[in-house]
Symmetry: C2
Subunit: 328 residues, 2 copies
Amino acid sequence: MKKFVNRVDDVLTEALRGFGAAHRDLVAVKFDPTYVTRAKPTKVGKVALISGGGSGHEPLHAGFVGTGMLDAACPGAVFTSPTPDQMAAAAQAVNSGAGVLFVVKNYEGDVMNFEMATELLDFPHATVKTNDDVAVENSTYTTGRRGVAGTVIVEKIVGAAAEENRPLAALRELGDRVNGRTRSMGVALSSCTVPAAGKPTFELAGDEIEMGVGIHGEPGRRRVKHKPADDIAGEMMTAITGDLGAKAGSEVLLLVNGYGGTPAMELYLMFDAAKRVLDGKGLKITRSLVGNYCTSLEMAGCSLTVTALDAETTRLWDAPVHTAALRW
Amino acid sequence: MKKFVNRVDDVLTEALRGFGAAHRDLVAVKFDPTYVTRAKPTKVGKVALISGGGSGHEPLHAGFVGTGMLDAACPGAVFTSPTPDQMAAAAQAVNSGAGVLFVVKNYEGDVMNFEMATELLDFPHATVKTNDDVAVENSTYTTGRRGVAGTVIVEKIVGAAAEENRPLAALRELGDRVNGRTRSMGVALSSCTVPAAGKPTFELAGDEIEMGVGIHGEPGRRRVKHKPADDIAGEMMTAITGDLGAKAGSEVLLLVNGYGGTPAMELYLMFDAAKRVLDGKGLKITRSLVGNYCTSLEMAGCSLTVTALDAETTRLWDAPVHTAALRW
C-alpha cells in the first residue's frame, strides 16, 4: 500500500487536523468525540443541518460545512458509520434552539446510528434519508437503494433553505422532495484501498469495469468488459433518466462526480457524453457540477447524477455557499 | 489502459467541449486553433493574462480562466506544448488594446512556442516565466528549473492585479516577484498514462516513490523506498524552505497540490505534516490551498508549494476570483 500515511491508526486524526488548519476561517474540528462544525455558532432561529458517514468520501461531508450548507459533519472511520455519541455531540453543539435536521445516506449502519443518536436528544429533530442510487434495489449494506453523490445536491439546496430560517418540517419536506427528484449511478474502473486493510477492497481484471458500483467499492449491477465512454455514459443515463421519468423539456442539474482517481479531463469527457444523452431526450441542463465531491478514496471511476429542478430548487442551488469544497 | 475515452484522438476535443458546456456562464471554447477565453470580452484598458501548456494538468490552465485570473488558456495535446498559432489566436482574441501578459511554465517547448507566438503579434506583450520547482536544476525538458504548481499562485495574484488595470510592465514585475518568492517540490507514488501512449509513462516498483518528480512523470531527485508521510513532507519542506530562505516570522501561503490520483484525506494529512515543519521553522501559514490544481493525469502523489507573502500579495490573493476551479 502506497499512501501518504504515518501510522494507520492516526490517518483520520491527522487528516482532520490538516483540514481544520487549512480551513480555520470556516470550520472547527473537535475530537473525542469527533465532529466538524462551522467556525461560527448557528444563528438563533436557524435549524442546524448535520450530516455524516464513513470517511473516505471526502469532501463529503466535512468539506460541505459552512454558510449555506451544513452546520456540522460527523466523520466515521474509513467506510464505517460514525457513532451515535459523535452525532449527538455534534447536534448538541450546533442546535441553536430551532432543532436539527440530519441528512443520512441510506446505509444500515448509518441509519441505525443516527436513529440511536436522536434518542439522546431533548430538542426537535428530523431526518432526511437519501437513496438516489438507481443501480441496485437492495445491496451489501442497505435495505433499499443506496445514498450516494445526490446527497451533495440535497445538502446544498436544503442548506440554502435553512439559511432562510425555514422551520424543521419544511426543510425535511424539501430534502425529501429533492432526493425524490434525484437519481445517480456509478462505475468503477479500479478498486480502492482502505488504509487499515492495506489491500484493495475488490479486484477488477485489466479489462473489466463494475457498472453500478457503490461508493465503498461494493458490487453494482454487473461486471463487464471495458467499453467506450459513450457506451458507459449511455447505459448509466438510460437507467437514471428511465427511473427519474422527467418529461422532455424539463430542466435538470447534471453532476459528474469523480471517485478520487479520475483525471478532470475524463470527467469533462463524461459530462460531454452524458449531455449528448440528455440532449437526445430533450432534457435541458441548466445547472452543472463536475469534480470530486463524493469519492471512494482513490478509486478510478465516476458517478452521474441528474436532479430535476424547478424554480425554487434552482434559486436555492444558486444561493451563496461558502464551504471548503463548494463556494459561490 | 482503462480510461473514460471514446477515440484516443478525440479525448481533448470531447473534454474541452464538456468543459465549455459545464461552465458556459464562465468560458467560451474555440477550436482550430484551440483556446479557451472568458465568456465576456476583456475590459478596455485591462491587460489580458494568458497561459497555456500541455493538457493533462487540469484544472491548470483552462480551469483558471475567469474574472480575477486568466483571460485565456491554450491547451496543447497531453503533455505537449500548444502551438504558436493557438497562442497568437488567443492573444488576438483577448487583447483589448492594453496588451497581453503570457504566463509560461519553464519548459523548452512551451518557452520556444510562446516566443514564436509573440513574433506574430503587433501589440504590446510581455512574459513571466515560472520556475518554482526546487527538485532539480536542469531536467528532461528544461534548461533551468521547471515551472509547476506555483504557477497557480502567480496566475491568481497577477490576475487580481490585472483587474485593477495595472500596466503591462508592472504586472510582469509582479509576476516575476511572486515567482521569485515561490518554491515547490513534488513526489510520485505512482505513474500516469498518457491516452495516446496507452501505457504508463514510467514504472515504479511496489515499494518505491519518486522524490522531486516532474509534472509529466519525468525524473526527480532520486527514487527511494516508500516512507512515512512525515519523512516525505520533511524532505520536501527542507528543500523548499532552504531554497526560499524566508526568515522566521514570515507569512506564507502553503499549497498542497494533488497530482490527480490522491485522496483528499491524504492531501490534508500532508498539509498537517508540512505545517508542522513550517511551525518548527517559525514560518506562519496565513493562506492555504489544498486540492488538485496542477495535476499529472491520474498520478498518485502531490507537490508542496510555499510562497512568501507580503501585505500586497496577500490582498491580491484574497481578491475575488470566479473561475471553474478557483472561486471566492
